[in-house]
Subunit: 429 residues, 2 copies
């Protein structure tokens, strides 16, 4: 399929081509305090409030009251309208920006609205795209679960018996989810340095083994009442608003000491970063591939009619040192998941748990399994639990984040259509 052509200048290598059209929340120089919805295209964004105010959606009469929907400080109201509306708005915007648009008078030939609503991206600032009621982190990256389980136990018992029967997950801390670029402070916490001392003598210390976890995040656009599950299949698929990149910052030393028996807590709740632009499932339709093989026959509430329910999209992680040297430490496809998001949604709600518009689900860390390496989603795996040093530019080596001031940058190519910026500066106390 030839790429769609736009009258707007879009750099050929842009992740925000006319085929993508992801949604986010911005403010601009003109509106420095008022957040509003926007889409990203090339090096620009379209301010959807300004566009609605100027009757930009007059060619899409099925969208009722766009000005109200796009005057909100989050995407929740838009998400709640459902996938059919998301897709018709995306298609309409694709048409409006097309070289051969059927509505040239709306924007292509309307210089004053272009000036008002089509803003250079660098003059805008992005914000958390959704109001997140609850956040849940899964553990569906089987290679990651295997690598970590092998380290803590042994390869023969790396995966727990339940792992292939259900998508293991835990409730995260919604208040600690932040937008790409937010400074994350290196957390203080209880750490057990000498694991052989009896009785144990934990200390309170800034985390020494600060790690990243490369994940896909999924925002929901549906709700279910208490006691009524969202069923696998069309119902669970329709609950997906879109995808972001996610960094589940992890304090490994705090985690090891605290997590028995109720799971990770302070090791995770000091910050989880998501990218700014939410990519709709319709934009990723062409990248569906089969999820990882599961030798176990799953129970009916998790059985999908089709196996191609994950996406073969390229994810990358770069590390930038305080001196500014950047090293790529991972390139991995998003397909390395044993469970799809529709399966996670169906399992999450099977007991009646109410899901809501704006809820965030994390996939779990995505790692590949190549022999050559370079496709791992966490430093814990890359440094083999602290046994191996990771070469980075600037003639330096690392295991975890040491000292002050690291950049973490993750880029999801989405097959050429998407981008995420995750960055954190970690200052000691």
């Amino acid at each position: 399929m030839a790429p769609l052509k736009s009258w707007l200048s879009i750099p050929p290598d842009s992740d925000f081509s006319l085929s993508n059209i992801p949604f986010g929340i911005i403010n601009s120089k003109n509106n420095s305090t008022e957040k509003r919805p926007a889409i990203a295209i090339g090096n620009h964004v379209l301010d959807l409030k300004a566009f609605s105010k100027a009757n930009g959606f007059s060619g899409l009469p099925s969208l009722k009251d766009p000005l109200t929907i796009f005057s909100q400080p989050t995407l929740n109201a838009f998400a709640a309208l459902g996938q059919q509306t998301h897709n018709s708005v995306r298609s309409y915007i694709q048409d409006i920006f097309s070289e051969s648009t059927s509505n040239p008078q709306i924007l292509k030939d309307n210089a004053s609205l272009q000036k008002e609503a089509v803003l250079p991206k660098h003059e805008t600032k992005t914000h958390l795209p959704m109001q997140i009621g609850d956040y849940t982190d899964f553990y569906a990256g089987k290679n990651h679960a295997f690598n970590v389980g092998s380290m803590f136990r042994d390869p023969a018992n790396a995966l727990q018996p339940n792992y292939t029967h259900l998508p293991v997950g835990y409730h995260g801390r919604a208040s600690s989810v932040v937008i790409s670029g937010t400074r994350i402070r290196r957390p203080n916490g209880q750490i057990l340095l000498d694991k052989t001392a009896s009785p144990p003598h934990p200390i309170l210390s800034p985390c020494r083994n600060l790690d990243i976890e490369l994940e896909l995040g999924c925002f929901l656009c549906a709700s279910n009442p208490l006691g009524t599950p969202i069923r696998i299949g069309a119902e669970a698929e329709a609950a997906i608003f879109g995808f972001v990149l996610m960094n589940d910052w992890s304090a490994r030393d705090i985690q090891t000491w605290e997590y028995v028996p109720l799971g990770p807590f302070n090791a995770k709740n000091f910050g989880t970063t998501v990218s700014a632009w939410v990519v709709l499932p319709s934009a990723l339709e062409g990248f569906r591939v089969e999820k990882m093989q599961n030798g176990t026959e799953v129970l009916p509430h998790l059985r999908e009619a089709r196996d191609d329910s994950v996406y073969d999209i390229q994810l990358e992680v770069d590390l930038t040192t305080p001196e500014g040297d950047t090293t790529n430490i991972s390139k991995v496809s998003g397909k390395h998941l044993l469970w799809s998001f529709p399966q996670m949604i169906a399992h999450h709600s099977i007991g009646g748990c109410p899901m809501n518009v704006g809820d965030l689900l994390g996939s779990g860390t995505i790692s590949g399994n190549s022999e050559r390496g370079g496709d791992l989603g966490s430093l814990l795996e890359a440094c083999q639990g602290g046994k191996k040093e990771i070469m980075i530019k600037g003639m330096d080596v690392r295991k975890f984040f040491e000292g002050w001031g690291y950049g973490y940058y993750s880029r999801g190519l989405w097959g050429g259509w998407g981008e995420g910026w995750l960055w954190g500066v970690c200052g000691d106390y």
Copy 2:
């Protein structure tokens, strides 16, 4: 101290004496759709919106704009004003209702406002008192942790090494917290019946081991920014808005299979019930007692200046069968906690996790340790993991909730000043 006397008729055994004055959210026959704040007193409530509208707070000029604060559908705006304001409002209302009030013209001698704002409790309906951003459940009931650990491991290794060093907790599901009286559906979930089969063969089934957990809930009235902990002492104490009773419904068979390695998930997120009336810490000041002895010297961020940071208040659990027979199955003091709520708050935020006004913390199940029994906070402990039957009225026995239609009723005397109603009907699919 002689009990305070009111001009309003308050039954002598009422939990809502003039010494309590708990806050909640109601609607009434007059205002069937509009939720508003209220306080409970005897068999009545005072509608705080109606009271504000009629200038009822004119004798408390330090309270700015009471009509706006008390026109909200939750207590969050009131909570955010801080403890000094909560206490002055409580004292003012105590004075207004006192036999010897200094402001008789406001309510005592104002029959028309009495008619409008002092409503019979049975003509009102209660609602979730706070908008809950995040909910965290701790595990601070040491007797419960010991009993459960003894069952799953052995008494010598019942408590994990971290247990006496930090308040163990996990993030819960805020969307599943419901108000007393809400029908809870018996959850479906994955259950492993034959624990010896290899490979394992879990089934999907309605929960067979449905349990209760008697807990204290604590609502917060303070916020901290990402990266800045709430410190132990005055700062953590000032973050407490008030207390409720809590039932952390638990599906034991689902929990056993799913919880390794990331903690409880679907076993908990089908519903958590809280009582309607939030009791302020100032109302419980006289009931402070020392928390449980901790042989371990705790780290500085958990060190409290005073040890009397838990409350000796009587908690009770009654079970009502579908036939209507009610049996008291537990009477236990709220003091059986190894960690106080200020310690939980300090630990939760030590790594920088942002807490918010309206957040809910659960204490963990509260069990006593008497030899005679009858003071356990869960059926799991009362039936010794399924080994022993619990006698209930109606010539019947139970281990967990079986079949359809149970009532669970928990009453917290708060030393004579408080009440909670927790109830659930569990219907199979």
